[in-house]
Amino acid sequence: MTGWPDLARFILGRRAGGDPADECAIHRPRLAELVDERALGGTQADDAATTAALDHLWACAECQHEIADLLLVVAGLQRLGGTVNRLEPPPGGWRRLSRRLAAPRPRGALRLRVAGLVVVPILAALLVAPALVRDLGTSAAGAVDAATRDAATVAVPVAVTHAAALQRAFDIGDGAQADPAAQAVEVVPRGPLPDGIEPDGSAFLPGVAVPPMPAVIPQ
């Protein structure tokens, strides 16, 4: 309804026995609710609106068609649900589960954890590197301060130094390319990881000898 003329037509229509289309519009929502209530297995309310809607339903072929289709869906779902509900799980489920419960943690999860331990500090370092480099890497007028660079090489982790070198290349430009040998990074051997795994990669390939990492990584 959009305004007074509609409202007037609605009132007059109801007094005069009702325009079928209006009647449908009035009762359809309640009928739809009745279907939902049926779908939920509840009992229908015994009120004036419900009685009027059902009276209309008996007289209206269009609403019967509308509601009948929905009821068909509800009945079909109930039947389908009942059929699924009779199904039993195949045997052997507990055996499968107890095997999984007894099994050690999957290696994949361990790998992910170790990878996380390695990747997270690198990412964090890469994020803070530009700021760090601005403080440490360059001194007056864009010249590279060798002493600072050496200090950074020793003190900051590999990833930070690598990022610093990239940053320097951008900051300094072609003329100030540093000597690659001077940029060698000393790798300080780290202790075992918190879960006791030596960080040499051997945990990933049991029984396979993993060559030791070089003490110096050329950049």
Binding site: L40, G76, L77, L80, G81, V84, L87, L97, L101
Partner: protein, 206 residues
């Protein structure tokens, strides 16, 4: 949905304590409910078995969170629904293959007297359920397979009762439209849906 039995609290306490025998009993008690939910959602027996195993693995890992005062079924159902929906998502993304055989049971196999028309309607409905959005499908499965109430579905899916109501309402309309389209495609210009007995509807209000 399975009612919490009188010894559920005892079970839960023992399961929380890490008693393996109690966990086995807990598994056997609730396995079927979880399996049916998973099967109705993923429509593939092998995936459903996988979901059951994963559900109980997670339940075992988080057994401390079990509340002896409440039935563990909604909690288990929630895990199973989430895992099943993850499978469906992966399927939609093409990460997981679609099962070749639909796992909705063939009604004719279980109810020999079922008429061909009913069978056809059921099959069309099963196809329609497959096309429903995942959250609507979960509501339909919990309602019609487990006979769960609105409140139980809301607890399982962790959403308001009103949301469950509207999902169910919309799911019924989508399935109705789907069914009509399905039959219209099969037999253009006909009205094939056999109307259910409307008398039943009036009778129940007296």
């Amino acid at each position: 949905m399975a009612d919490p039995g009188p010894d559920d609290a005892l079970f839960v306490n023992e399961v929380r304590g890490g008693d393996q025998k109690a966990f086995e009993a807990f598994y056997r008690r609730h396995e079927a409910v979880v399996y049916r939910t998973a099967l109705a959602l993923v429509r593939d027996e092998m995936t459903a078995e996988e979901v059951v195993t994963d559900t109980f693995l997670r339940a075992h890992a988080a057994r401390e969170r079990l509340d002896p005062a409440r039935s563990p079924v909604p909690w288990l159902q929630r895990i199973a629904v989430n895992l099943s929906l993850n499978h469906l998502r992966r399927r939609r993304l093409g990460i997981e293959a679609l099962p070749e055989v639909a796992a909705w049971p063939d009604e004719a196999a279980t109810v020999p007297e079922a008429a061909a028309e009913r069978r056809e309607t059921t099959a069309a409905l099963a196809r329609g359920i497959e096309r429903l959005p995942a959250q609507m499908r979960a509501v339909v499965v919990l309602r019609f397979v487990h006979d769960a109430s609105l409140a139980e579905i809301a607890e399982t899916l962790e959403c308001p009762v009103g949301t469950v109501k509207s999902r169910l309402h919309n799911a019924l309309r989508l399935l109705r439209d789907d069914l009509r389209r399905d039959f219209e495609t099969a037999q253009p210009g006909t009205q094939p849906l056999a109307a259910p007995d409307l008398g039943e509807m009036g009778e129940s209000i007296g």
